[in-house]
């Protein structure tokens, strides 16, 4: 049976384009066969429209459908779940497009297109993706215009233009709705696996791991300080504390038998002792920093913050080792606000179990180091003194700070301390902590990031992977956990200026920088400027668009409306929408379609109108002279002026030999003005 294609020819291209554009985000990340399927479908449609092929029948379409389902199962191992579901949706979208015969089918394809656009936003939420989706929407709208335009004069170009106009007019309305429509809590919980973790910190530390990170300029997180910004040397972004050492690798550990509720405080649960102490001290301190962190997806639960952080948003917990732990792994960009109060770490105590853990060392590692540590212990009066000696040791002995340390052999501690003496922060942090424990001072390794560069716009700080750092903390009686950074003893530049500067100041570092192709952001010319701007847009997108959640919205509405009540929101919404719609209505409906009147024509109608307003109404069919007579009848005193005007007017308007020039028009206007004064 011959099937008749009823979608008008001027819209077919739009429909094909819509299907293609909407599918691309999925095709790029999905399995290859999907692209193949779409190409096949578009090819068939093209041949059908060239009338070289009849539309495939039910049989073929069913086979294609079964094939698509089977391939989806083959590629994803299931048919449900976000990835597989979206892949299936995109395949159905293409297959529905294949069987478009009537206007109704085209409607279905367009609606599916909206959903496909929506799913693209599930997996990527960059400004670019959103712009792309708006573009897809415009193309889908062009299709809508096309299938509703069954006119012989219709043209595809005009559909696009009309759709663009409508879309552009909708965007301000969309923004109003976005800002004002109240965000409701999720009806049921859903999570989508987001971007796969890229480079990032792992939950353990062994030699070489952090130096690998240093070779990446990828963003780890952004920080936006409100108010004071701590100096660079104080910006230690704590991520993890590592307490267990097996001779090579440092790992997270908690004392045996400790419950989660004892060392993790989650809002709403019972406050542990240490938290209560922290809280009571919190309000006395002057030095405090308020900031927002926007973390890139890491697939890890730990979050980065300055020492002694207090989370201001939910969904995360404070651990006893003064760091934040998210409730779920960070699979999408996550923004959280924190208040850090640095000087109150002393109130956190050390239980005997913890002390035991913080002193534990592997049995047969670092024999020489232990000897050194014992010697320092004997010669020192306090724990602080021991740590000073250790730092002096690093400073005095020929230690080098380098990104490419030599390999360490069997006993990494002794090998580094006494043989190679070339290393990166993790080497120094690890061996310092080892020495401290061996000398009987409770110590642990902290990994995180140090420093961060400010954006050129001066708005926020960027912390990149190469800012990754490791340092130590030692327990001092009366002072609590105290940060000691042995790297600073070897390479003070690393702390004061950052890794880039530190490397540039050293000889091998400069070569290394060139090797790695890492350039400081601010070094470059135009390219750097542009990338700074892109970063800025991305940052604002993150904070203002993606971060516009319930809390943000209620703050915003409160500042806008005074109080957040449903009535006020509704009124604001109605007023804003009404203003915009009224504005559009004015331009769409009140534009005069008449060709513009010439100056001469306006002259006449002005006088006509004035005379009609002041005297009896006049008919439209009056010649200038008749108008003058009508005026003379009603205003005898104006008779002469009226006749002057009319004679001059008819000569100018009706004698083609004397088309009016500027001066004559001006004269005519002055005649009319003279006449005006006489009409009252």
């Amino acid at each position: 049976m011959a099937r008749i294609y009823q979608v008008p020819s001027h819209t077919r291209l739009w429909l094909a384009l819509a299907v293609l554009l909407c599918s691309i985000p999925q095709l790029v990340k999905g399995p290859l066969w999907q692209a193949g399927l779409l190409v096949l479908v578009i090819l068939i449609r093209w041949l059908v429209e060239q009338q070289r092929l009849t539309l495939p029948g039910r049989m073929v379409r069913s086979l294609l459908l079964i094939g698509a389902v089977a391939l989806t199962f083959y590629s994803f191992g299931r048919l449900y779940g976000p990835e597989a579901g979206v892949a299936l949706l995109v395949s159905l979208f293409a297959l529905k497009y294949l069987e478009v015969v009537q206007q109704r089918d085209a409607y279905v394809v367009i609606v599916l297109g909206y959903f496909v656009c929506g799913t693209a936003l599930l997996f990527s939420q960059t400004p670019g993706m959103f712009l792309y989706v708006v573009l897809c929407m415009t193309v889908l709208t062009s299709c809508l215009v096309g299938i509703n335009h069954s006119d012989t004069r219709a043209s595809g170009f005009l559909h696009g233009k009309r759709a663009l106009v409508i879309t552009l007019q909708s965007i301000p309305l969309m923004m109003v709705l976005f800002l004002l429509v109240p965000r409701v809590a999720p009806l049921w919980n859903m999570q989508v696996g987001g971007d796969k973790a890229r480079t990032g910190m792992s939950d353990s530390m062994s030699p070489g791991q952090i130096s690998e990170l240093s070779e990446s300029a990828e963003l780890a997180f952004r920080v936006d300080f409100q108010g004071d910004v701590p100096p660079r040397a104080q910006r230690y972004w704590r991520g993890l504390t590592l307490s267990h050492y097996d001779g090579r690798t440092w790992q997270q550990a908690v004392p045996k038998g400790q419950l989660e509720s004892e060392y993790l405080y989650r809002r709403g649960t019972e406050k542990p002792d240490w938290y209560r102490k922290l809280e009571s001290r919190r309000s006395y301190e002057q030095e405090r920093y308020l900031y927002e962190v926007i973390a890139e997806p890491s697939q890890r639960r730990w979050l980065f913050s300055l020492a002694v952080p207090f989370p201001l948003d939910g969904d995360m917990a404070l651990a006893k080792d003064m760091r934040l732990v998210a409730n779920q792994p960070v699979s999408q960009r996550l923004a959280y606000r924190v208040e850090s109060v640095p000087a109150i770490n002393e109130v956190i105590g050390l239980t005997p179990q913890e002390r035991q853990l913080m002193l534990s060392l592997p049995q047969n590692a670092g024999k020489k180091a232990r000897g050194l540590a014992h010697q320092w212990r004997k010669e020192s009066s306090s724990a602080r003194d021991i740590s000073q000696r250790a730092l002096r040791y690093f400073r005095d002995q020929p230690f080098h700070y380098t990104l490419r340390p030599p390999r360490l052999t069997a006993d990494p501690v002794d090998d580094f301390l006494f043989r190679t003496r070339r290393g990166f922060c993790e080497h120094y942090a690890s061996s310092f902590t080892f020495l401290m424990r061996a000398a009987g001072v409770p110590a642990r390794v902290v990994v995180g990031y140090q420093g961060g560069e400010q954006n050129d716009m001066g708005t926020h700080f960027l912390v990149r992977q190469y800012d990754a750092h490791a340092w130590s903390e030692i327990w001092l009686e009366g002072e609590g956990w105290t940060r000691v950074d042995p790297t600073g003893a070897v390479a003070p530049d690393r702390i004061e200026l950052g890794l880039r500067e530190a490397l540039e100041n050293s000889e091998d570092g400069r070569d290394l920088l060139a090797d790695l192709g890492l350039r400081r952001f601010s070094d470059g010319g135009l390219f750097a400027k542009v990338s700074q701007w892109i970063d800025y847009v991305d940052f604002r997108w993150q904070t203002w668009v993606l971060g516009y959640d319930r809390a943000f919205q209620s703050d915003f509405l409160e500042s806008l409306l005074g109080a957040v009540t449903p009535a006020r929101i509704a009124i604001a919404l109605i007023i804003a929408v009404a203003i915009l719609m009224g504005f559009y209505a004015f331009f769409l409906l009140w534009q005069t379609g008449n060709e513009k009147l010439t100056l001469m024509e306006r002259e006449y109608w002005r006088l006509h109108q004035r005379a009609s307003e002041r005297g009896r109404p006049l008919v439209a069919g009056l010649t200038p002279m008749q108008l003058c007579q009508a005026i003379s009848e009603q205003w005898p005193q104006a008779a002469v002026a009226a006749e002057n005007w009319a004679k001059y007017y008819q000569k100018l308007h009706y004698d083609p030999l004397s088309p009016p020039d500027k001066q004559q028009k001006r004269h005519l206007r002055s005649l009319r003005n003279r006449l005006y004064k006489l009409l009252d």
Binding site: N594, L597, M600, E601, Y604, W605, V619, A620, G621, L622, T623, P624, M625, Q626, Q650, H653, Y654, D655, P656, L657
Partner: protein, 303 residues
């Protein structure tokens, strides 16, 4: 232009108190159009036609139409001469400069259409021989609007051949008094002085074509035409030919009024006599009233 004023004055001596109609008749002649006078008998139709002929020194003939008249009686006869074995043409009364076709509605449609065809084409074809009519050539036809018995009212399509239709109507009382006091009208007509000869008239009608009409004026004429077409009180609107006639008549009127460019007043002046006889109203309407109302409602200046 003085000649035109003089001509008007001359004719005005015998057709009393009808300046407007005289001016229209003169306009019609200048515009090279034929005139239809619709009036009761004895209103001075014949006097008017005759006087016009005198004033412009035109060859003048009058034909009284009757129902037994044949086309040949108007156009002429091609007579077969058995001696020469050839047809020879005997010209009919139509071969003149000003033909007064009296009571044209009494003739059969066939005779009517023979005359109307000659009017339109300004030539007569008999047996394949085409003979041009003299220059200038005007027909003044009269029609009796009341007595319909045994008449063939001219169909609308034929009325289009007449540029204008006027009616003289009864004279005003004081004019009638003057008329009664005056002598024999026929005598007076014969005494009229020629003002221009026929060549002069031809020249004048060429001048009509040079009267300037601005774009704005043409726009107005177009709006008027359009108004008749979009007004459903009429059976049909004015034809483009009627539009050209309207413009030409307006030009001639402007010339008679002593101007070398057309004003909307000129269009309005000739409008009823040009438009009315070409339009017919649907049931019950008065064409005159509707055409007049259009002048009121159609804007003179575009808006």
């Amino acid at each position: 232009m003085q000649a035109l004023d003089k001509a008007l004055a001359q004719v005005g001596r015998v057709v009393l108190g009808k300046e407007e109609q005289l001016k229209l008749a003169l306009t019609c002649m200048l515009a090279n159009g034929h005139l239809l006078i619709e009036d009761l008998p004895g209103m001075g139709k014949t006097t008017l036609a005759h006087a016009l002929a005198r004033v412009f020194k035109l060859e003048y003939r009058r034909v009284q139409f009757t129902s037994d008249m044949l086309p040949a009686d108007i156009l002429g006869v091609s007579v077969f001469d058995p001696n020469t074995q050839q047809f020879s043409l005997r010209e009919g009364p139509v071969f003149t400069q000003l033909l007064l076709a009296d009571e044209i509605n009494r003739a059969t449609p066939k005779t009517q259409s023979a005359l109307l065809e000659a009017m339109e084409e300004r030539q007569v074809t008999l047996d394949g021989v085409t003979r041009p009519l003299p220059q200038p050539f005007f027909v003044v036809a009269t029609q009796n609007p009341v007595d319909q018995a045994g008449t063939f009212v001219l169909p609308e399509s034929q009325l289009d051949r007449f540029l204008m239709r006027i009616s003289l109507g009864y004279p005003a009382p004081e004019v009638e008094l003057q008329l009664l006091a005056g002598g024999d009208l026929r005598e007076q007509v014969r005494e009229l002085q020629a003002v221009i000869n026929s060549e002069g008239l031809i020249k004048l009608s060429r001048v009509v074509g040079k009267v300037r009409a601005s774009h704005e004026l043409l726009d107005y004429v177009q709006r008027l035409l359009d108004a008749t077409r979009s007004d459903d009180r009429f059976v049909a609107g004015l034809s483009p030919r009627a539009g050209l006639g309207l413009l030409k008549a307006a030009r001639a009127w402007a010339l008679v009024s002593g101007r070398d460019y057309v004003l909307p007043e000129d269009v309005q002046a000739v409008w009823p006599s040009v438009a009315e006889h070409r339009l017919s109203a649907r049931q019950g309407g008065s064409v005159a009233a509707i055409t007049q109302s259009l002048l009121q409602s159609v804007p003179v200046i575009r808006r």
